[in-house]
């Protein structure tokens, strides 16, 4: 479904991503793990069109989307839930959701989708008229995921969904992510919490200093010496 080939990203003189190769099959959960600054978020940014790659190719469903603007990539069926959630604080929960589907669904379909989202995230139904900025971190994360799902994407990119959340809320969010796959969605997950990511992922790639250094099934990585020593503290 998604293939990233020899991706390179530069911010001025700094090489944030040296070389990342990645392939995501339909219906998989793929985790991209690694330390802070390893190039995980930049990689997601390039796939979503926020960052123009310096070299390499990104192919989604057989179409080259390298360097295309984010609105085009979104309409092809890729939704990014950005790091830090970035919900619209001054807009109500309902308005946040409606913008998520505005360009993808006709009005009646969008209404039905909004109801599906409110069923999936009951907390959002309760806070429907409340401004996004007044929600807690966990509720905002739910809203950010729901907003991205409004577009009925085929691939969802999640950037650090556990960041800043209370442990109980992290479990809820990750149960939800595992549930998304059961509905046929493909998930590319960036996560600093490696143990957590490997629990729900099918396969994972480890990034270090902007390079993919290790890739394999989640089970293989969870037992590999490198991962255990560097990220799982074993």
């Amino acid at each position: 479904m998604l293939a990233v080939e020899a991706l390179k990203i530069r911010y001025g003189e700094v090489e944030a991503v040296r070389r990342v190769d990645l392939s995501v099959g339909g219906g998989e959960i793929i985790a991209l793990v690694g330390a802070n600054g390893a190039g995980k978020s930049s990689t997601l940014g390039a796939i979503a069109g926020l960052v123009a790659p310096a070299a390499g190719r990104i192919v989604f469903d057989g179409t080259d989307i390298t360097g295309k603007p984010p609105e085009t990539i979104s309409r092809r069926g890729v939704s990014l839930v950005p790091e830090g959630r970035r919900i619209f604080a001054s807009l109500s929960v309902a308005e946040n959701l409606r913008l998520g589907g505005a360009m993808h669904l006709a009005a009646p379909e969008a209404k039905a989708r909004e109801q599906e989202m409110l069923d999936l995230f009951p907390i959002l139904r309760r806070y429907h008229r409340i401004k996004g900025g007044n929600l807690s971190g966990g509720e905002q994360q739910m809203l950010a995921i729901a907003r991205a799902l409004m577009a009925k994407p085929r691939l969802i990119l999640l950037d650090e969904p556990s960041l800043g959340l209370a442990p109980r809320m992290i479990d809820t969010v990750f149960d939800l992510i595992a549930g998304l796959r059961r509905n046929g969605l493909t998930v590319l997950l960036v996560e600093q919490n490696v143990a957590l990511a490997l629990e729900i992922a099918d396969r994972a790639t480890v990034l270090a200093n902007g390079e993919a250094v290790l890739a394999g099934t989640a089970k293989e990585l969870a037992t590999s010496d490198l991962v255990r020593q560097a990220y799982l503290g074993a």
């Binding site: 926020l50 609105e71 907003r147």
Partner: protein, 293 residues
Amino acid sequence: MVAQQIINAVSLGGVYALLALGLAIVFSIVGLINFAHGELMTVSGYALLASLFLGFPFPAAVLVAVACGALAAVAMERVAFRPMRGASITSLLLTSFAVSSLLKVVFQNGVSARPQAIAMPSWMTGAFSLGDFTIGVGPTISIVVSVLALIALEVFLRRSVTGTAMRAAAEDFDVVRLLGIPASRIIATAFLLSGLLAGLAAMLWVAQRASVDPLMGFTPVLKAFIAAVVGGLGSLPGAVAGGFLLGVIEVFLQATLPAAAAPYRDAIVLSGVIAVLLVRPQGLIPAVRVQRS
């Protein structure tokens, strides 16, 4: 007398509010203070002159003039600002100065540097009595138009998808694009709205003065800029509040200052602005903008 002054103050404030809103809408989306905003007024003023000259009935001429302001704003974005997308704020500011100077010269050399008289319909210059008060028709129309424009804008921003997306883009433009909403549409709409508001303001401004000239946009837009800063740059409610506040203060000083102090009116107003900004540096009603890491 007092009633008439209040009407004048609200009427002037309404024009400032429309102009300040136009500046604020563009600033909230693009981060640019459009110094060519005054020239949008000038374009509308001359479009009114031309339409009347061509024999259009007055209401039709006003519609054409306002539409020309809106179209000019969209064209300005398309020709001058879109190629500069992603450029630094300084480059954008310089571009807006260039557009402003260019249009001034076009009107000075293409038409005339001297003011051109515009005959207002007689009913607009009259007055009507309300109990013991005599109230001018012109300022009353001005207030009604400003209020209706503000309500229409509010409804657009609250109820329509594009309006909601614009409020979202003022907070976090990248995320709006991630949701599939085209950046060009948001930016073009921002300029379109600012041009519509400038066109309306131009009509109200011209109605009070019955003439147009190549520099007619300078003073009101300078005042509108001050209003937008006092209100909180990029904040739409702030722009409206700042506009009305400035109108009220100006008319109040005009009416109460002794003749000897009258030349210092603007100095006194600007001192007030400095005082406000010392106490509230983000303005009266600061804009919401998400801090990004």
